[in-house]
Every structure is written in C-alpha cells, then in structure tokens.
Subunit: 139 residues, 12 copies
C-alpha cells in the first residue's frame, strides 16, 4: 500500500508558525514517527506553497497511490482548481486540518475540497494525519 | 479509560435508514465489533431522538468519562442548546458524522457544535467512531 | 387502509390557541367528524409537543400505515431531525398546515419537511386534514 | 356553483412536457374526468402562456365564479402583477402546483401569489386540481 | 399573586457551567433568596432541558399565574415552537437572559420569543429574575 | 405639447381594486378631469395588463410625444424589458405610483425603471399624474 | 396656508456643490422665485447640517404648518431619528430629492423617511419643491 | 449614589409622540415620581435630539456618576459614535427602551450599544427606567 | 437543416436602440446577410416583445427545427416561464446576447435560461448569431 | 494573423478528467485538427496549472498576437489577478468554457474575467475554441 | 501651505479612551509635536463630536486649505452626509484611522468616505497624521 | 535597517498597465529614486506574479528584515495563504495599494491581509511605498 501526504502553503514552517495554533513540532520530525508507526506501508511526502504545484502533484499521483492525505492549508478555502484536480483523480483523498478550523475566522469554516473527499478530519493536530492513514488501512 | 458514545436522532434505525447514504450495518452490531477492538477500555453507549435527552446525558457524563464521541445527527445543524452542554462539561468531545455532510444539502454543511469540540471526523461511515476513539487513546 | 395523523407542538390546545388564526374548533371534536367521514379506513392519531417524540412516532409508523398526515407545526420550520425521519420511512407523508403560513411571519414561509413529502396542503383550516386523507384514498 | 380553472405557461403541453416531472396525461383528458366527477357544478377552463392574458381572465372572473383554481406555473415565482389581480377580485383563489416545487430548484420554492390565496396545494400531480375543487365544495 | 419561573436548557447546572459567563451561584440557592425577598407572592419554579417539556409547562401555566419569567436559554434563539406557546397563553411572559447575549456569538443576538413577550431583561446576571418579578408587581 | 399616459396591470380596474389603497375613483373619470385641467396640451392614454403591449406602446411613442407618464404598476418591480424600452426612446419618462410603495411589502420598494426615468412621483394618489404633467410643462 | 421647507446637510451650498448633479442655482435665489409663484401662501425655510437640529425643527413645526417639504439629503438614507420625528408630528411631510437617487450609488436608493411621508418626489431638480407645494395646495 | 438618565431623540415629546406605542405620560412628570421613589439617591437628567450632544454628555459623566441609564432612542440602531463613547467611560451603562423594539420594524431589532452595556431592559414602558436604577442599587 | 432565430423584447428596434451598446445595424439587414452566408440551410425568424408570444413560438418550434438561436433580451434575466418552455422542447437552444452582459448592470449577469441551453454566446455583437448557427452545423 | 490559446488548470488532462463532463478527446489531438482547419493563421498554445504562469504568459502575449483564446478553467471563478492581466494587455481576449458552467455548481456561475473579455463562449465542448477563433477572423 | 486636521467623535478624549487600542498620548500634546515637525507649514485643528459640526467645518475649509486630514472616527462608517461634504469641497482629503480598523468589529471595516478621499492611512497610531501631511507635501 | 518591498501580480508591468489608474512610471525607475531618498537604509525588492512565490519570499524574509512593504495586488482580495504567511513571520508588514481600491469594483474593497498588517496605505500612487518606509523609520 502506497500513501501520498500532500501539504499546502505555510505547512513547511510548521513548528515555527503560530505554534499556539499549529503546535511546536516540525513536520519532518513528525513524518519520521509516522513512517515508523506505519512501517508496513509506503508513505511519500510533498509540500509546496504553490497552488499550481499542488495540482501538478495530485494529477501525477493518479494511479500511483491507494490514497492521498491532503492538507491544502488556506487553499482549502479558496481553490476550486485543486477541487477539480481531486475530482479528476481516481484514488481517494482524505482532507486533514491540524487546527479546528470551525473555531477560527469565518472564512476558514468552508472547504471547496470537502464535498469531493472521502472524508474530513479536523482539529486533532498532527494526529489527524495518522487517523487519515488509518482510514485507508481500515477501508 | 472510559468513553461514552452518544448518537442523536434517527441513528437508532441505522441500517434501515437511507442505506445508500448511511450504510447497511445496524449500530448495535457495529458497537459489538468496536468493544472487541477496544477491549482494554470501557465504552458506554446512549442514543435518543430527543434533543433534551441528549443534553441530559452530556451533563451527566461530566467527570465520568475521558471523552465523548458525539454524533448529534441533524441536531448538529440546529441545536445551540447541545452546543451549550458541550461547553459546560470538562471532558473532550469529538464530533462524528457518518456521511460526508459537505456533499449533501447546504443546511448540513454547518455544525453549531464543531467550534467547541476537540475535533471533527466526517464522511468515513461507521469507521469514524473508531477513529474518534483512537484520537482519545493517542492523546 | 390505515392512516396516521401526527400533530406537533401547540396543536393540543387548538380551539383555545389564537383562534383568529387557528379557528375555534378543538382537534378531538374534529377527529370524531373525520373518522365518521372516512369510516371505511382506520385513522390513528398522535400529538406531542416534543420533537423527539414526533421522531419516535414517525419511525414506529414505518410499515404500519399507508400514509402519514403530518402537521409538524412550528417544527416544520426548524427541524432537520424530523426531516430525516420522514426520509427514513417508506410510507408517504403529506404535510398539512392549518393557517396560510405564507401570509404570516417570514420564518414560517419555509419548511424543511416539504421537499421530502408527497405533497403539501396549506391554509384550508382543519379541512386540510380531510384533503390530505383524500389524497391517499385517490392515489 | 361555478369554478374557473386557470392554467399558466407551458401547461398547454402537459403530457409532452418533462413527463418525468409533470406526468404523461394531457390536461384536456384530465379535465373531462374532472367534469364527470364534479358533474353537479360548472367548471370553466382557461389557459394562456401570457402573463397579461392571465390577469385579464382573473379580472373578468370577478363576480362570475365562486372560486378560482389557479396554477400560474412559473409566473407564481415571478409575477407581482398576477398577485395584484388576485388581491383585486373578491372570489377565493386556490393555488395549485402539480410537482412538489420544494423538491426542485430554489427559485421555485417561493410564490408571490400564496400569501393572498385561500390555500395552496402542492405536489399531488393532477389530483391537486380535484382537491382544490373539493376545498370550495366543503367550505 | 403567583409567578412561575421557567428555566431552559443547561440552567440546571448553573454555578458549574462556564462560571466566567454565568456566575458561580447555583439557581436553587438563588431561588431561596428570591422567595425570601418576595415573601408576599407565590413563586413556582420549573426547569427542563427539553423543548417539548417547556412547551407543556407554559401551556399548563395558562390561567394559573399572573406572570411567567422565562429564561429559555439557547432555545430563545432556535425555537419557534416555544414562541407559539407564548402566543397561546394569556398571562404575560418576561424574557430573561443572565449574560449579555449581544456581547457574545452572533447566533445569540436574536430571540424568536422577544416580539411576543411583555419585555426583555438581558445581561444583569441572576438579578435579572428579580427585576422581572418587580416588573409584574409594579404593573 | 403631447403627453402620453401609460398605465400598467390592474390599473384598468381602479376604483374597484383595493380602494383602501388605490382610492374609489376610476381612471377614466379622472382622465376627463385631467384633460380639462390641461386643455392646452394633448393627452393620450393607454392601458394594458400585458408587459409586451406596454413595451410596444413605449416604442411607438418615440418621437410622437414630449413626455410619457408611466405607471407600470407591479411591472415596475419586475420588468427589465420595460426598463430597456425606456432607455431606447428619446422622450423623457416620469414614473408615477398612486400608493406609497415604500409603506407596503418589501418587494414593492424597488423599481427597475426609476434609474432611467426623469423623475419619480410616489404616494400622492391620482394627483401624481397631474404633478407629472406639471413637471413636463414647467421644464 | 403655511408650508415649511426644511433642507438637510450640504444643501446650504447648492449651486457650488457638484453642479453636474445638483445644478448651478443656489437655493436662496430659488426660494425667492418660489415665494413669488406661491404668493398666496406663507413659506418658511430652514436649513441645517445637524441631524439633531432638523429633528428639533420638525418637532417645533407640529401644529404650526399645513405641511412640511423635507429634503433631508443624505440623512434620508441613514436617520431613523428623523423618521421618528416625522411619525411624531401630525402635519403631512413630503420627501423631496433634487437628483434621481435611484441612478446613483446603491446606498442612496433607500430612504428611512419615505414610508412615513405623504409622498415622495425624486429627480426633478429644484422643481421638485414646487411640485411638493402643489401637492399640498391640491389636496 | 448618583445616577444620570440620558434620553435621546424624540423622547422630549413623550406623551405626545405616538402614544399608542410610547404611552401618554410625559417624561418630566415621570421623573418627579422616580426621584420620589429613589429619594435616597441623586438622579440627574439630560435629553437631546443631537447625537453629538449625547456623546458630549456621556463623556462628561465619566467619574461623576455610579451609573448611566441610557435610552438613546433611534440612535441605538445607527450610532457607532455613541457606542464608542460608552466604551470610553468607566461607569456602567444600562440601555433602556420603552417599547418592545423586537415587535416593531426590523431596523429597530439591533442595537450598536448593547454589547458594551451592563444590561438591556426593553419593552416595559417608563417602568424600564425604574428597573434600570434598581439594577445599580442592587449591584 | 432548419434553424429558428427568436429575438425577444426591444430587439425589433436594433440599430435605433442605444447604438453605443447594441450597434447601428438593424436586424433585418443583418438577417439578409446571414441567410446569404448560410444559403444551404433554412433560417426562420421571429421577434416579439411579449413573453407569452415567445413561449408560444418556442413550443411550436418543437420538432420543426434542428436548433433554436434565442436572444431573449431582458427576459433572460427574469423569465422562468421561458426557461420551462426551453426544457419542454427537444431541439437544442443556443442563448445569444449581443452585448457583454457581464460588463453591465448586476441584474444582467444572470440568466434563468442558460443552465438549460446547449451553450451561451455573449458579447460578440451580431456576429454571435452567426457563431450560434455555426455551432449547430458543426455539431 | 496569430492567435494564442491558453488553457488553465486541469485542462492538461482533458480526455481523462471527468469525461462525462469534459468529453473523451485530449486537447493535443484536438489542437492538431484546429490547426488544420485554420491553416492560414498561426495558432500557439500554452497550458499551465499555475495561476502565476498564466499571468506571465498573458503579459508576454501583449503585442504578439491578434487575439487570445483563454479557458482559465477554475481560475475564472477565483482569480482577480488574471483579470488584471487581461485588462493590462491590448489584444482582445475571448473566454471559453468547455462545459455549460451555468448548469453546474453555483460557484462556477460567475467569472471575474468575463467583464473584461471581448466575449464569452460557454458549453459547446471543444468546439468553443473553434468558434472563438472564428470570432477573431470575422471581426 | 495650510493643512486642516479634523478629528471626529471621541477623539477629544484620546489618551483616556481605550488606551490599549488608541494609545496613551493625548492629541493636543501630539499636535504640538506635529507643528514643530512641520514648522514650515500652517496646521489648523478642529474637533467635534457632532456630525453636523464636522460638515460645517469641511464646507468652510473649501478654498482655505491645500488639504484636509480627516479622522472622522465612527462617523466614517455611518455618515453619508460627511461623504457628501467631502465631494463638495475642492481641496484633497486624506482619511486617517489611528487603529487598524480591519482588525476590529466588522462594522468598522467599511468607510463611506474612502472612495472620495485622495488616500487612506490606517493603523499607524498617531503617526498616521504625520504620514498624511507628508502625502500633501510630497504631492 | 533593512526593508523588503514585495510586489504582487501585474506590478512588473507598471507604467504600461492601465496608466490612467496606476500611473505612467515604471517601478524600477521609482525604486532607484526611493533608494536614493532612503540612502541610509537597505531596500531589497522582489516581484512575482505567483502567489506561491510571494509566500516563499515572505517566509524567507523572516528575521532578515525590520519590515516588509507588501503590495500584493489582486491577491490582497483573494489569498488567505499569503495572509497566513504574514501571520507566520515576526517582522511587521505594511500593506500598500497604489490606486484607491475603495473607489473601484466592490471586490477590491476588502483585503484578507489588512487585519494582520501593521497598517494600510491606499490611494497615494507610488508615494505610498515611501510613506510605508517612513512608517518603519519613525516607529
């Protein structure tokens, strides 16, 4: 089983970025833990601050992975183009948000992506990525 | 560790109710599987179609459980009173929805409860309850 | 043929309640007339001010009746949970309102239930129940 | 007793028009059945695709009929001018819609006419006309 | 003179519930003080978390009390059914809110009940109940 | 000087139509008075309940009259097509409403026509037509 | 007959203020013409840029004048307090706007005052004041 | 203890102004009664129709009074500037409305001031001022 | 191949009507050019300012033409009845607008018809009709 | 004559992407056909999933081409930056959409680009590109 | 060069008013510093809590100053009358806000004045006035 | 002191782009002037049409500069991702717009970035950059 984790804008500076909201752990360290926990599956990782690069990567993932764990960050609230990319690929996509977006500004309460995802996991911090991978394994 | 699962309106007829959306499994059967999987923790279960009864149960749970897994069903979209009950208890609450509410009618896209929950898990079918319990165990 | 009439909140005090809007006749007296008129079919009756109790009753009616005549009163405008119950049962539901809800406050102009009912009859006073039963007989 | 049935735009091609929504029966055939059923009363019929012609006919009906059964079709959602005509005549008007307008596009959920009608009957197919006539007889 | 105080959802846990908003005093203790202060009038008390139970109690109060002091809690913002019950009884109803609802979330700024109440008292903590009783005495 | 008065839907039954709003005088009688008062100018009159006929008449008036006094009735609130006709003719148009449309239903508060008219006179009863003619004479 | 003309903010600099919209004539010169034209009636005039001063003057006018011609300028779109003053006085008020407010910014399209005025005259330039006085004379 | 009562626009003509809404008593007479009732505290009074004058007076009251009872009339619905003045002074402000503003036009349902006041008392007629003073005494 | 061109309100005065927006060519002259260009197909033409007449013509066209080129003018923004006629006929309809409706008033930005048309061509002047016919030929 | 075709996000996977909406043909194959059809003009092609790259390309096209055929895909609904690029170049831009965007989700019904384009062609599948090129040739 | 600084409501108590938002410095002290810094130009100052007085002063400034630095305080969000005064004077107006109004309540995010000002400077504390004067000097 | 100026989409073609709005000067020329004026501080410059590249640059600037002057162009109105980047860096950001965005289309009136910036300077042309640098120097 192969899973691709895709992180969107500003998630490359996790740990430094508003840690009271996003926590103090950086993603690479967390990724190591995650790979150890799920040592029986293959986990690839991609991050970009560029909307277009995220679309490129989602398109390329088609047929290569059983599932995509996607934290599109702020693009979840503004990008119909990423939404279209999700609809265009056949592998299931799980949307993850680290913070509880419903407890923040109103413009973070909606996601263009959600209707076309397999499921959405919000507010559990980095543990959300782990739950998302679990959801593919337990399918 | 003690977890309370609370199901709201129309979840007592799961398996019979719009199975193309909610699936064909009834909740009691699933609960048995869930208890087996998490045999090392105590899982209590409560269901009611009554908004007031759900509030009563949430209040009583305060101090009795490490966590509440709450699928308030349609009341998630209309009940400020349940929202207030969640704010009034100290144990964490995880909101679960079986179907992907963002892919359905617009009035199902918002939840009064979500801002006051620890996290939200949407669209994974009955597996969502399992992921919610995992989130308490992995805390 | 068996028909269940369900009345929602404040319809137990019909005749006393704002008679300039709802009329001076109490429902029990009217129910007697109705049963006489439709002596060849079986008419059951249930009233509650409790949203949850209405859901319970709708669920129990599944498979027991050819049709439900439902005046959910004010819950028509606020209850997604009753809407879900209607979608969960296989017998047809006809929505009735005694007063012309479109000639009253804006919050009475919409019904969550209507899209999932067989039909809607509004503004004919108590006669609306009779027309609703006719609609099942003439099907 | 004299009743006037008025049908608005596109109801002249009933039976051919989107039959999955409006049914396969044409209105003239149905009108014959209706006249047989209510042989003791006089039923006149008028149809036009012209908003102005419907207003003309409603005005002329004043004082000539005990009641008007009006299916204004799409004009129900857009015509304040027909609404004014209804307010200008003294005989009661019952609004009928063949399809369940609440289960269709949002722009069909509201009716300018409804607040000024005696009652509204929606979603029962052609049977709605029969129920409307019943409502005048049982007054 | 007989006054009925009705408290809605989550007011049974006053003193424990978000005390930074609702204060540290429990309602029963306060009620004793209130009865002492107004020893010349009869004060009855009812609390429920159930919308339907609140409607039942308001209906039963009709003709039994000079006034109702109603803190419907969160139901003030969502319940048209309680609004209808208020309109159905002849004794005056005064709406009370402990916290200043206008300084909180937007969904707490409106009350379905207010237009049909004699008056509204908001933001004075438990003292609001005392002012409400004064308003009946000074009428 | 030649002036054309155009009346829209339901203004042919003035005097009979909701006289508490529109008054008890019929328009033909008023027109005679008006022609006497303005005996030195030529006044033509047209009325139709048909939106298309009003457009036809406005188009034909181009170049034939110094001014048009237009009471489009309910079409003022719904007709962009009449608005376009006004923009297409070179003679000035004054919009008149008999009743104070701002004191009535919200859907009567706006006029598609007004931005393209020379001026608007509202709420003066039939005197509004006289003031409108005055406005052309005093230009 | 005594008429009071009240002008609101920025109407004291008429002639200098955006003459492409409001014209090149100053109000005092126009007032002289107006008094000559209506030499048989008494016309008083008041202007202020202060909302409160306009309210003071309207209150004082009560019982002193047969009518008030009020151009509240921008306050028409924002002042509920002037609206209340209009409702508090018994003499009729006619609202006048020099420019066609419907052809300008959206925030100029509505008037708090209009529903409580006898009538509204908009877009005729200074002639609007003359038509307003005519409306009182012809009453 | 010193209390300042501030009344906003059109409250100087209480008793004459729409008495079916605001009652037949003038405020000065009522003030005498109020001072007698609360003879042990000092009550000052100020009224103005000018928004700016109300702001001036609120600013001057800072440090001079234990509390301000403020009926800003229509300015409650439109004045952010008065709101800012309330936030700028340290003494508590209680907002009072004589009529039940929630039972009137929609633009009267909101108050800019309310979120920054100690509490709000609405709909009790002149008695509201008495309850407001009570609220300061019982603090 | 037979194509029907239908033009709605105010398109009969093309060339004279706001030529800075709609151009200086009249439609009949253009139609001659168009027929020459497409001499191998049959082109019929109909214009009316009457909404009902347009509906009549669309209905009659069913089965008679391979396609309809429809410029409904202002009715595109207001007519659900024409929308229903389009849905009722089996031949494809292409919506054309001469001007770029998206660069004009907001009320011209939406079309009721568009969702039910084969395609929409906007802003190309009279050339839009030619492109529409091309779209049928190239199908 | 030189024309530049620019395709936005997800149009590089045409033929594979939701073929029930976008068709089964890939764009490169179609482009060959197009170039053959328009062999007398020069057609360049650019595609990117990156909003910024599309802006770069539009800027570079200025002065190099007689026209741009732009299918910005999902960016049409969200990108003011591309809109600004269109306004910044002097060559005409024609907006094309393959699917009928008005028959899909509400967020696809609006285009930031449209008001600044020469015209818009929607819903004709790949043929839309051909019609767009025709529109430049026939200018 | 002559510059007029105009401060609106509640800016007379700067330093005392919500210093966590507006700072601890009073305006007169700051004005002295400012005059020293810009000793080569003449700076006049006016403050009022009265909307009308601000309008009076803006009108009088016409032709007397090269520029106006206007902090209209809360009136920026509510006053169309001040907006009109700005449009009526020929000297440029720069709008200043001390606090970052975009980081506060939603009703502070909009300014009626801004579209008609030369520029807007927001959030720099008292330094904003200095930058505004700089903008006139550097013109 | 080191300042970074970041320009967003279409600002690379300043001088050529809609000069009636943005002026005729190109940014590089202006930058030279700016560096001369502020010769005692270090000014770096970055421009990109790519939202992601702007985010990358803002992240890299963290800890390298005392301040960022950011004209995000059209992305100010649409980019939550840039907003998040601003919140993630510790150096202050000043938002600049060359044109008066409040005098243009409604979609340019709001900025996602503004609430998280130190201040906003709008409408002063290129001078706005100079004022922004001044604001850092004068801090």
């Amino acid at each position: 089983m192969k899973i691709l984790i895709i992180n969107g804008p500003n998630l490359n500076i996790l740990g430094k970025r508003q840690p009271e909201i996003y926590g103090y752990q950086d993603f690479n360290g967390f990724l190591e833990q995650l790979k150890k926990r799920f040592s029986h599956i293959e986990i690839d990782y991609y991050q970009s601050n560029h909307e277009g690069a995220l679309i490129d990567r989602i398109q390329q993932a088609d047929g290569q992975y059983e599932g995509i764990v996607l934290n599109a960050g702020a693009y979840a609230h503004t990008s119909i183009a990423i939404t279209d990319a999700i609809q265009a690929v056949s592998c299931g996509v799980v949307e993850v948000h680290i913070s509880n977006i419903y407890a923040r500004e109103a413009f973070r309460h909606t996601s263009y992506l959600a209707p076309y995802c397999k499921g959405v996991i919000t507010g559990f911090g980095l543990m959300g990525y782990q739950l998302a991978i679990d959801s593919f394994i337990n399918e």
